[in-house]
Symmetry: D3
Subunit: 227 residues, 6 copies
């Protein structure tokens, strides 16, 4: 969802049209991170807010379960602090909707690691939360997702895998006291919008490209194909 939202935030900032002499992407020179425009087709890239690429060094895999849980618990909370500040920096409703959603769902992950440590060690790690101290309720867009109970639901995103995660995701949520829900499968989503190509970005659709040809081959092969 994050990359879809980033793409939605990027698209439309430039003008549409094939004539480069009109400088259809002139507005990109005022963006902080021009990499989304110069080196990519106006789409999300695996980098931080500063345009620095993620590296494999961000992957933590110690071989010790307790340490890995502690790392991920910390990581989610560090991410939460950064999300809270990004929220405080932006006015755009799409950006706020995304950050609000991330605060709630990231909060689920932090809670899940806390509960895993709690089940494992008996120490009441969940009582450390929230870190930072401010509740997600202070963010209107996050609150809206909490009213839908999104902060209490852990999904397996599969019918078969991760079934044993229910061992740690049970009981009540400490913030509202309502029962945690463990859900086999994924949430019912909204289809990701299939954005039109942006011709000024040299996306497919030029003269060489023949959708009809692809449709013909697909038809012969009995494949449903809507380019």
């Amino acid at each position: 969802m994050v990359s879809y939202t980033i793409n939605l935030l990027l698209t439309g900032t430039t003008k549409r049209g094939l004539d480069p002499s009109g400088a259809p992407m002139a507005s990109a020179t005022d963006m902080r991170n021009t990499r989304h425009f110069i080196a990519s087709g106006q789409s999300a890239l695996p980098m931080d807010s500063h345009g620095d690429f993620w590296t494999g060094a961000n992957v933590f895999n110690s071989g010790n379960l307790k340490l890995d849980l502690l790392h991920n618990f910390f990581l989610e909370l560090g991410a939460r602090a950064n999300k809270m500040r990004v929220y405080s920096m932006v006015d755009d409703p799409t950006a706020r909707e995304m950050v609000g959603y991330l605060l709630v769902r990231g909060g689920v992950h932090a809670m899940a690691y806390a509960k895993a440590l709690e089940t494992y060690t008996g120490v009441e790690v969940t009582k450390l939360l929230p870190i930072p101290d401010m509740s997600n309720e202070a963010f209107p867009e996050a609150k809206k997702f909490m009213e839908q109970g999104m902060h209490r639901k852990l999904y397996t995103f599969s019918q078969d895998d991760y079934r044993q995660a229910g061992i740690i995701w049970n009981g009540n949520h400490p913030e509202d006291g309502k029962p945690l829900e463990f859900i086999h499968g994924a949430m019912e989503g909204v289809p990701a919008p299939d954005l039109e190509p942006e011709p000024q970005l040299n996306a497919p659709g030029g003269e060489d490209f023949d959708p009809q040809m692809f449709s013909d081959i697909a038809r012969k092969m009995g494949i449903k194909y809507d380019y």
Copy 2:
């Protein structure tokens, strides 16, 4: 499969046992990449052969379909050259089995990008292959996988997704003239071995950890749980 094989190559190189004063991991000081041992639980990490972590800069996403296909075509072939040299450097049968497999399956990917460019543009890109010029048949372990037809099969790894990939993956393989196979779903695999924890690596299994407790909770929740 790569990371499983790397894990198999790493495990067993050190001695088992909880007593650190016996220097059970002494052999690791002779390894080229000690990160697998010092900073990880003897498991695969997202880094290159030199221990340098991958970065997001390796992700290429130009926004132009033809350029992306050309990039990935090149990328698979650059990877193939490196695999060929790694094969020439190693005697270990597990390592050779992995590299042989990678040569064949990576060859499928190179061919797939070539065929996509060919379908799109009409230029016979597949005739550039093999790059480098030597056939996979020169590698006995690769040849074995080719005799199973692994070089002609493209999998979707899903019953629902990527169905339209059959548009490009059809016709015959240029090396042996036999028909390409497009397979909805995944190959029948061999279960990844579930390696025992290695106590000298501080994996779970210490005195605080109580498998019985987990089993009890799981049983109450009706979850099948074999730790």
Copy 3:
């Protein structure tokens, strides 16, 4: 030429004058890449548009001719995509002149690698062009250079070296059907402007520096010297 043009684009953005208390470089705080100003004398540096330095990892040298040609072919086209977007982002005539020139001359390089692959393998790689699909003709400044035939000329930049490059650079250009020209030596250029030192940047010209002394020594040594 790129670095000269970058220098011309950088110079004059700041005020001239030795008195720092007038903040003669104040305008630099609004530049995206302040490295050109803080860490360099308002001159081109070996970095990307984001201010990240190039690294030796950008050098590709596989040891296999076909793979190297394919890599460089791809590289020129990836660069072309980025140039097209930079063109679409800028209004400045000097910037557009530079990008237009780069599109045409970079196009020569892409074509040269394509023709090398074509000569080597017989596969009509040049028919993949243009990638991205839009012709350079869509860019007025590029078109101007094409009217001078710049897209059909390959220079050796030497009277002695690279003579065998003519083996691949012959025949007609696919876009306009006119004959390719292989030129021993360099194009007749325009002398790079010898910019005056910028005193606010602490360039030479301070009280310690005595051009007369240099001229005197040069005269005694019979060297023509115009500082």
Copy 4:
């Protein structure tokens, strides 16, 4: 002092207040380096002006005294060039005060390395100064610190250590001919301001935090404690 001044320059750029829906940090989106805001509590971070982190590769330790002195001599002068340009870029009085101070005190370090080389080798290295050629006197804020003699004072910042540094720091300053001062101990400073927490940055002060509890424990332990 640098980090305190950076912190003073950062604080107050955002609005105070706990309600994130008012976007109290909106102004940070216009900052060149948002890392101070997104990834830190509006405080100085170990990075350059571009937001790139310092690395251990900046530490030079050759094992040869003369080479180390030459390196540090160069390093101070390279830093001086950058400071001169930053001064020329900023109008803010706090920023200029900091840069003026750094020019003077960094000048002491450059001179100290020059004098060490001079004592060691007999070559009059100090006569190479100033590099760049402009005197610190051209910068009004630096001149003010020079009128306090700050360019002639070398501190040990300890009563016991570095006593032998006086071997090289003696004689007169080449710019004004007045005697160099070697001072055992530190300059009398001004207490660093103890900035209040910024609630919008989730600094301590939330509901879980009980200053009274800390004061009580401190009192019992006989510790003076003013949170």
Copy 5:
């Protein structure tokens, strides 16, 4: 102490002597990290075991006290896991002595952050320890330092600063139930050995260097100076 010990481990691995044609540093070609030899005077450098330099990105400063404590708590434990593995890899008594010391003193730091979180939040964070699960007692060299009570002592390394740290460092150590000690000042140390220059490394001592001259100046200035 770490860098002194590293230096002790490095020194003596090469032969002494000024004649390079004897290849006095030949043994360094078998070292994993040749940077200590090629790019430094056989001394500790700010890099990891792989020769990759530390960066400022390792500094964590979130602006939120609880999050910073949690980060540092995790960090000490991640470091502990790596130390435990390094111990298991080395036989050298000096290396084991260093790692044993680091396990004990790093354990103090982990405990200190745990107690800070405990004091702050009331959650019994210290009960999560030890992470990884194995006690330091399993490491003979660490056990020796524990018998000296080193695991129970927190030093301020100053007579004036950090006095309020006693607020969190009190009570008993959970492993042996003995009282924690909060010590104003530093431990009584052993003077760091003042290693002789290594002539093959071009350390000072060449023909240009005149210790007598330094002694003479020092004597005139009343400085005790024993080069």
Copy 6:
């Protein structure tokens, strides 16, 4: 010359032959830097001894002449220290020949920057040399090149350019008092050896490659072509 020598040092370490199942590159697994083998065709790459790629950050361009000269003077001496240590680490005659040559010719560069600073400022910078303190005469291979006067010769490597460099390169060499030589043009070299392709490295020469075809085209074009 460095890259040619590196290539000569790399070639022959592996066995020749096309059959990968003989593990013709097995010896490469014992090399410190496997990148020359896995990711390149056994040829020099732009990286340091540790396999870390050079970056554009190594380019120093301050805009101030005196500072640039000082930087390059330091840089040559830092490089000299590293070369001295590499010499002390290697026994191989080819490696020693290369390092001996680099010590002498790098010494010319250090001297040239020193003389430029001397001419510019009047400070006798050349008297700081040698840094590190040991003379190149201590290295037998370097001494051999000095007996050929290689330490006194500055080449322009061009008939037309850099003619004014003679302004600084005149007088006598401080080490042997013999006159410096300023030479318009290049030294008479030895042709770089044209190494045969290494078939196990997938260099050109495979079945697809037809030298005859190239010769035929070349002959028709009147180009001398000896593949």
